[in-house]
Structure formats: structure tokens, C-alpha cells
């Protein structure tokens, strides 16, 4: 338990992805089975206990110490689990410290009454607050140490020197504590079988095209083109009686979309875009991303919500048909199979991402710059897929390209800067920027419209950092407000993918994916854009 506690402690304070990978990889390498398997399950979110509830912990600690001293402690620390971990009175020699596997196995099988007694016994036996903290985190679920399931699996792949996609594909056939997985990763046994009906298949991803270099080398006749839809990439599965909807990272989101998982009546696996699709004059019509957000990250979903925001999948690939793996067929062949398959389902919840015929790159460029009326207007750009490409996991270079629309641009004024994390902790690297609007008194004032923390080079970061330090007006903890007046301040050219109305932002608009595209040292802040410009852009986006 001590090693696991140390791992959680370090992960919770480490922001660098690479450092997290190293920490988890080393832990998996040095920790024996079955502890490491349970730890991996905890990190990937595949471990949950329902018998343990945190409320009793407070009672248990108050039975052990003066409630007034506990209250002062809690007031100082601010987090219940952490406070309890710190103040729990030591009972030297109470018991042996438990191993992680003992804790997990007991929590999985014990009744609620037993669990309380067990946890109190473990807390008594643990010597360090770190361990008690880890136990309480584990018990209440949701480690919240900044680790994604994908990153944890990648660490396991690094430990064994295999491709992350291999583990992703196996994942749904594996069960904690994953002894078969580690045996394979350590070269002690064969790879476990992925033949597990309803499993997730690792997605094939596209490279961003470099217009200046790539087009000269590519033959338009080798590629199919289709719109790049602005939703969520998903995999829709009906196999061996198992129906699933997965995100592109393999998270199972079936329970949020009961209206979709039943849409396939034939067995097969589709790759496509999750969108809100409403009836339009010419079939399905794509709703805004904001509508889709109404359906995401929900624990439960009711009929009313499903009727208001009907979800659908716009299919663009087929990974299995019946029990046949189609990923080894070329795209042209898969496409034919896909078209026939989708037509046979005859479901309003599934439609086809249409191909866009073209002869020259110039023709395609014109199409991208000026999409025809209807759904293409809200597409993010264009996808290019080689007719002969096989479906490969990961992001191979060459077979698939994405060619995004040009972003929207505005000039905004830097208003606040905040220190970054990890490598950037000595830099002011997170910026809040604003545009001009009419203030209450009638004059022009800046109103914040977004936040960005990338898009600039390391050299530019140094320059902005210096500017922030030299032009600080006020400091609030890690945040500085920066001089921003018509004739003194820093203008950013900000690129973003779209705008949404937002009640949470004072300006009433929220940007999607904003980043700093250029530093406009040359431009006086007074000449930066006005809020009305953004409002017009928004009206235009909504109008089409």
C-alpha cells in the first residue's frame, strides 16, 4: 500500500504527461502481482466499491479525538479525506499494514458494516498520512490524480515495450488484477486473446495535412474526400449479443445513449461521428455542438432529453461485418460494405457520411473554403482517406489526412496572466484576453472573452512572460492583472474554431479551442476588435 500511496501522491502533484508515464511505468515494473493490477484498475477507473461511503469516517475520527480540534484541523485543511488522513491518531503496533490487494479484495466482498470496521483497522495500522489518504481516495472512488485511463494503459505498454493500441484492443477482454496482461508484458506468456465479443477496437487517426508540402506529393486519384464532422468520434458495436457505444479512447458510454445502442439490428462494428441529428427537409440535419454537449457526460438520461436532443451516428467506416474483421480490407472495399450495411439497418439514428467527388486539389480547396448549404456548413473541414488504406490503429503517416477549415481570427488584448504548471511554473503562461465593449459609464472597456495557454513558441513565451512582469497592475495570488489601455498593452491574434452563446461568461460568448496565433506587438490595444465583431460572427454561424 505504501508504494501505491507514494504513486498517487506524486501523480497528484505532477503535471507533465511524460513524468506521469514514468511514475506509473516504474510502479508497474517494481510492484508484484496482484497489487500492481489493482493499482492499474484504480487508475483506469475500472475499480469501484459501493459499500464504502465517506460519511462514517468523520464519525470515526471524532470518536478518536476532540471534535473541536478536529474542526480546527478541517477548517485549516479544507478537504475531509486529507484532514482525516492527517489527524488520525497513531496506534503504534496496532496491526500489520495492509497490502493494496488485501484492501481491494476486502472492499469488494465486505458488507457495509464490515467495511467500516475494516477501514478503521487499516487507518490504525498505517503509519503515514500519505497511506491513509490513498486508502480514503480509493475507498470513495475517483482518485482525481490527473490520470486518464488512456495514459495508464500507455504506461503499461511502455513497461512491456508493446504498442499502446495492442493493450487498448485487449482491454475489454481483460479483468483486474490483469495477471495475464503482466505475464505477457514481461515475456512470461503468450499475448492474451482479444477475441471478446463487443470489445473496443483501437481507432485509426488522421494526420494534419501540411498544405505547403503534402499536396505536391499526393495524387488526388488516390484519395477519397468527405466532410470532417464536428461531433465526437465513436464506435458502435453489436457483436455476439453485446451492444456498446465507445468513445475513440475506448470509454464505454452505452448507458448515456440507450437510443443509439439498439440502432444496429445486424452484427457489426461501425466507426463514425456522434452528433445530434434532427429531421430536416433532406433527411438528417446536424445540430450544433452545444446541443450535443447536452447529451454528454450524463449519468442518466430520460426520454424527454432523448427526444429533445436525438443522438445519431454518421458512419464513415466499418470495422467488422457479422463476425468478419473487415479492417484488413482496403478503404474502397470497406466503403462499399459500409454503404450496403447502413442501408440495410434502415435506422433514422444512423446515416452515412457522404463522399465528396473531386478531380484536383484546387477543386477540393474551393469546396472547403465555401461549403455548400446544409450540414457541410458546420463541418470542421475535410478528411482525406487513401482508397487502398487498411484500418490501422494509431496515427500512421500517409493514409489519412485531416484538412481543417481555416480558424476564425480576432485581435484581443491581454488582461490577466496566470502562472503555468510543471515546466511552466516559472512562467506566466495562461492568458485571459478581452475585446472592447461599451462600459456602464458609456466609455469603452475591455470584457474578457477567452483564455488560452498555447499557440506560442518558447521564445514568444519568454517575451510575454517578461511583458507580464514588467506591466503588472495588480496581483491576486498566482494571477496578475496586466496593463491594458488603448495605448499600452499587448494584443494577441487569437484563433478559434467556433463560438457559442454562454450565460457563464460576462461577454455572453464562449470560444471553442482558442489559441494564440500571433503576437501583435505592433498593434495598439485600442485597435483590437470589439465584442460586436464576435456577436456578428456568432449570428452568422447560427444563421446557416
Amino acid at each position: 500500500m505504501r508504494a501505491f500511496a507514494e504513486l498517487l501522491d506524486r501523480l497528484s502533484l505532477t503535471s507533465s504527461r511524460n513524468a506521469k508515464l514514468t511514475l506509473v511505468r516504474d510502479y508497474l515494473r517494481e510492484t508484484p502481482d496482484p497489487d500492481r493490477g489493482w493499482a492499474l484498475a484504480a487508475l483506469t477507473g475500472d475499480l469501484s466499491f459501493d459499500a464504502a461511503k465517506p460519511a462514517f469516517i468523520r464519525k470515526a475520527v471524532e470518536a478518536r479525538m476532540d471534535p473541536q480540534l478536529f474542526w480546527w484541523s478541517y477548517d485549516y485543511v479544507g478537504d475531509l479525506a486529507e484532514t482525516v488522513a492527517l489527524v488520525w491518531p497513531r496506534r503504534p503496533g496496532a496491526n500489520r499494514e495492509p497490502e493494496l490487494s488485501e484492501v481491494v479484495e476486502a472492499l469488494r466482498t465486505a458488507s457495509r458494516a464490515e467495511v467500516q470496521r475494516l477501514i478503521e483497522g487499516w487507518l490504525d495500522a498505517m503509519e503515514e498520512p500519505r497511506e491513509r489518504w490513498a486508502l480514503l481516495k480509493l475507498m470513495t472512488g475517483g482518485l482525481r490524480v490527473g490520470m486518464t485511463a488512456r495514459l495508464a494503459k500507455r504506461a503499461a505498454a511502455e513497461m512491456g515495450g508493446v504498442e499502446p493500441a495492442e493493450i487498448e484492443e485487449l482491454w475489454h477482454a481483460l479483468h483486474p488484477p490483469y495477471e495475464d496482461l503482466f505475464a505477457w508484458l514481461e515475456g512470461r506468456s503468450e499475448k492474451p486473446s482479444a477475441e471478446h465479443p463487443g470489445r473496443f477496437r483501437p481507432a485509426m487517426l488522421a494526420q494534419a495535412i501540411d498544405e505547403a508540402v503534402d499536396f505536391a506529393k499526393l495524387d488526388p486519384a488516390d484519395y477519397a474526400a468527405e466532410w470532417k464532422w464536428d461531433g465526437i468520434r465513436v464506435q458502435l458495436v453489436n457483436e455476439g449479443g453485446v451492444r456498446r457505444l465507445y468513445t475513440r479512447t475506448g470509454d464505454d458510454i452505452s448507458h448515456t445513449f440507450p437510443d443509439l445502442v439498439d440502432a444496429l439490428f445486424e452484427e457489426g462494428v461501425l466507426d463514425g461521428e456522434l452528433l445530434v441529428l434532427r429531421d430536416g427537409p433532406n433527411g438528417n440535419q446536424v445540430a450544433s455542438f452545444a446541443d450535443l454537449q447536452q447529451r454528454l457526460n450524463r449519468k442518466t438520461v430520460d426520454a424527454k432529453l432523448m427526444a429533445k436532443f436525438p443522438a445519431g451516428v454518421r458512419a464513415y467506416d466499418i470495422l467488422a461485418e457479422g463476425r468478419e474483421d473487415t479492417r484488413t480490407l482496403p478503404f474502397a472495399e470497406r466503403r462499399k460494405r459500409l454503404e450496403a450495411f447502413v442501408a440495410r439497418q434502415a435506422s433514422p439514428r444512423i446515416d452515412l457520411s457522404a463522399l465528396q467527388p473531386f478531380d484536383t486539389w484546387g477543386e477540393l480547396a474551393a469546396l472547403r473554403a465555401d461549403p455548400p448549404a446544409g450540414d457541410p456548413q458546420v463541418a470542421e473541414g475535410i478528411m482525406l482517406k487513401r482508397w487502398d488504406s487498411l484500418y490501422e490503429a494509431g496515427r500512421p503517416k500517409g493514409p489519412w489526412f485531416k484538412w481543417k477549415r481555416d480558424p476564425f481570427l480576432i485581435d484581443a488584448v491581454l488582461m490577466y496572466a496566470q502562472r503555468g504548471h510543471g515546466k511552466r511554473s516559472s512562467f506566466y503562461s495562461d492568458y485571459t484576453f478581452g475585446v472592447w465593449t461599451e462600459g456602464e459609464g458609456g466609455g469603452r472597456v475591455l470584457t474578457p472573452v477567452g483564455k488560452a495557454y498555447f499557440g506560442f513558441t518558447d521564445e514568444e513565451l519568454k517575451q510575454i512572460d517578461k511583458f507580464v512582469r514588467d506591466n503588472t497592475v495588480e496581483r491576486f495570488g498566482p494571477v496578475r492583472s496586466v496593463r491594458a489601455e488603448p495605448h499600452a498593452g499587448l494584443v494577441f491574434e487569437v484563433a478559434f474554431e467556433g463560438l457559442q452563446r454562454s450565460g457563464r461568461h460576462k461577454s455572453g460568448v464562449a470560444m471553442r479551442f482558442p489559441r494564440i496565433s500571433r503576437l501583435r506587438w505592433d498593434k495598439p490595444p485600442g485597435e483590437a476588435d470589439e465584442l460586436i465583431t464576435l456577436e456578428r460572427m456568432l449570428e452568422q454561424m447560427e444563421g446557416r
Binding site: 506524486r10 505532477t14 516559472s426
Partner: protein, 336 residues
């Protein structure tokens, strides 16, 4: 029976001894001062006469120049010195080099002012000696039950493990320049770290002073002595304020470590951008504070500074009448 208040009482300048006419750790210039230890908030320049240990006087001279007071008198640990009718004895406090408790005896009454103290082993200074007394006047910097410092060896082992795990990065350890820095260096040596340890310029003179007082620190080098990439795998010790400062950019992707009792609380570590908190403190933690009161069982407990209310409550619950003096001017934040 003499009232303790007749011997020592709090004044705006600090704790005042009327029958001996001196202040203990005064925060403003006074005619006669007894100084417990060299940290800047306890040892200030500009007093008339100063009584302290040799090491503390040395530290003050290093910090403020030799003219820091008009007259100074060194007392060895355990040596009784008369101040008018009062007998003053300095006894080790285990806080930093030269740190002392002040034992004040007058007409059969013994009062002990702990100064800042800790009860754990520290290879850079003499260990705390408990002195039976009628009134114990304690600090309470970490006077909340949340502060339970782990073994320093374990914390140093965590640092060395991280160095092994991230050989491409430098490890930048924030440590207070007087006491903490030298203790970390000694603990690293004891753990077998024989490589040069790189130190910030602000630490150099105090390191040399510790060496003069017989605390061997091993090979040290200035943190400016190498090019950036050569610091990979090395340990650098610097004042805590440098962790998020531009100064840290001279090192390759530094792991920010901070050796302090405050690191016990995660939000504190997060606020300061600390990636590797090392819970190493030169102050008594909750168990040491309460354990010391329990061991001495004084007739009264007075508390000078820190989180007085919690320690006072604990003492009351355990049958020791306590009062908070609420002395101001002693910093509790951040650096330790």
C-alpha cells in the same frame, strides 16, 4: 508564592523579564536582549547588549555584520549567567545550529522559554534537553493535529528515488538558508549521496559557517558552475523563493522540491507549484509539542506564537492550564 508574570511578561517588543531587565527575542531594538537562535525574525540587529550562544552570535555577525549590537556575550549551553537578580541558562533547543531554550530562574521560580524547537535528531545541532519548570513557554508553529512530520530519512529517500527515476531532470530543493539547507545536505550525505551538491549563492556563507562549527557538508559547488544540460541528475539547494522564480530556468526541466513542514498540506504544495514536497521541518510537530508538555507537566503552559488555540485546548483537556500570549512579529509562513 511569586507570580510568573512578575518574572516574564509579554510586551510589544517581546517577552520581557523585569527583574533581569532584558527581553527575549525582541522584535524591536532594546537595551538588553537574550536571543534564542539566528533566524531573522528572532535575531534582529540594533540591540544594546546581546546574550546568546557563540554560534548564534556568529550567525548574527554573518548576517548583519560584526556591529550588529553594541555589546555581546556568549554563553555555553548549561552555563549559568546572572542578569541582575535573575539567573539565565541557555539549553539546547534542537532547532538549528546554536539554538537555545532560555531557562530563567528567580527566587525559586523556573520558567523555560522554548524558542523554536524540535525533538528529533538533527545532525547539524545539539538535541533538545527537557528542563523541569513551573512555566513552560512554548512555540506552536505547527500547533494543529494535522502536522505529523514523517521520518526525515524517508523523505530524503523519496528525493533520491526521484533523482534515480528522472535522470534527465535536475532536482531543485527549496530550503531555508539557515538550518534547513545544511540539515538537508547532511541527511543526503548520511544517505550516501557523495556527489557535489549545488547551492544557491544565498547559502554559501551560512554553509561555510556551519563547516567552521564542525558540521561537515561534503563537496559543494555554486549552482552557476555548469551549463544547463550538465545539471541533469544533480541536486541543487536554494532558498524557497527561487522555485518559481526565473532563476530556476537555468536547470533542465527541474523537479521542484520543497523541504518544509508546511508541505504536509497538499494545497500548500500545489499553491507553490511544488512537484515533490519533502516534509522536513525544524519545528516540533503536533506530537512533539503535546509530547513535550506531557513530559514536562509544567504548572502552566504559555504559548508564544503559531496556532496557539489548538495547543492551548489540548493542554487544558490534559490538565495543564494554558494561555496564549499572541506575540507578534514571528513569521510562521512559508519558509519553514
Amino acid at each position: 508564592m511569586i507570580k510568573p508574570q512578575a518574572l516574564l511578561c509579554p510586551k510589544p517588543e517581546g517577552l520581557y523579564c523585569a527583574p533581569g531587565d532584558f527581553y527575549i527575542d525582541p522584535v524591536r531594538p532594546v537595551a538588553r536582549a537574550v536571543i534564542t537562535h539566528g533566524h531573522a525574525d528572532h535575531a534582529r540587529a540594533g540591540h544594546g547588549a546581546v546574550l546568546a550562544t557563540e554560534a548564534t552570535l556568529d550567525i548574527m555577525a554573518e548576517r548583519y555584520g560584526t556591529a550588529f549590537a553594541e555589546a555581546r556575550q556568549a554563553a555555553a549551553y548549561g552555563e549559568a549567567v546572572d542578569r541582575d537578580a535573575v539567573q539565565v541558562t541557555l539549553v539546547p533547543a534542537g532547532h538549528v545550529l546554536g539554538s537555545a531554550q532560555v531557562v530563567v530562574r528567580w527566587k525559586g521560580l523556573t520558567m523555560v522559554v522554548s524558542g523554536d524547537y524540535k525533538r528529533r535528531r538533527d545532525p547539524t545541532c545539539a538535541a533538545f534537553e527537557p528542563v523541569p519548570c513551573e512555566v513552560f513557554i512554548s512555540e506552536a508553529t505547527f500547533g494543529l493535529p494535522v502536522f505529523r512530520h514523517p521520518e526525515d530519512k524517508g523523505e530524503i529517500a523519496r528525493l533520491l528515488r526521484s533523482v534515480a527515476q528522472f535522470p534527465e531532470r535536475a532536482h531543485l530543493v527549496g530550503a531555508y538558508a539557515l538550518g534547513k539547507a545544511q540539515r538537508i545536505i547532511r541527511l543526503l550525505r548520511e544517505a550516501g549521496w557523495a556527489r557535489p551538491i549545488y547551492v544557491h549563492g544565498a547559502l554559501e556563507r551560512l554553509n561555510a559557517l556551519y563547516e567552521r562549527h564542525g558540521v561537515a557538508l561534503g563537496p559543494l559547488a555554486p549552482a552557476t558552475s555548469k551549463t544547463k544540460t550538465d545539471f541533469a541528475g544533480e541536486i541543487i539547494i536554494a532558498p524557497p523563493s527561487t522555485l518559481q522564480d526565473r532563476w530556476s530556468r537555468r536547470f533542465p526541466d527541474p523537479v521542484a522540491a520543497f523541504a518544509s513542514g508546511w508541505m504536509q498540506v497538499r494545497a500548500r504544495a500545489r499553491q507553490r507549484g511544488v512537484e515533490l514536497p519533502l516534509i522536513i521541518s525544524d519545528h516540533a510537530d503536533w506530537d512533539e509539542l503535546t509530547g513535550t508538555v506531557d513530559e514536562l507537566r509544567p504548572g502552566e503552559l504559555w504559548i508564544t506564537h503559531g496556532r496557539e488555540e489548538a495547543l492551548a485546548r489540548w493542554a487544558d483537556l490534559h490538565g495543564v492550564p494554558a494561555r496564549a500570549l499572541a506575540l507578534v512579529g514571528y513569521e510562521e509562513e512559508d519558509d519553514d
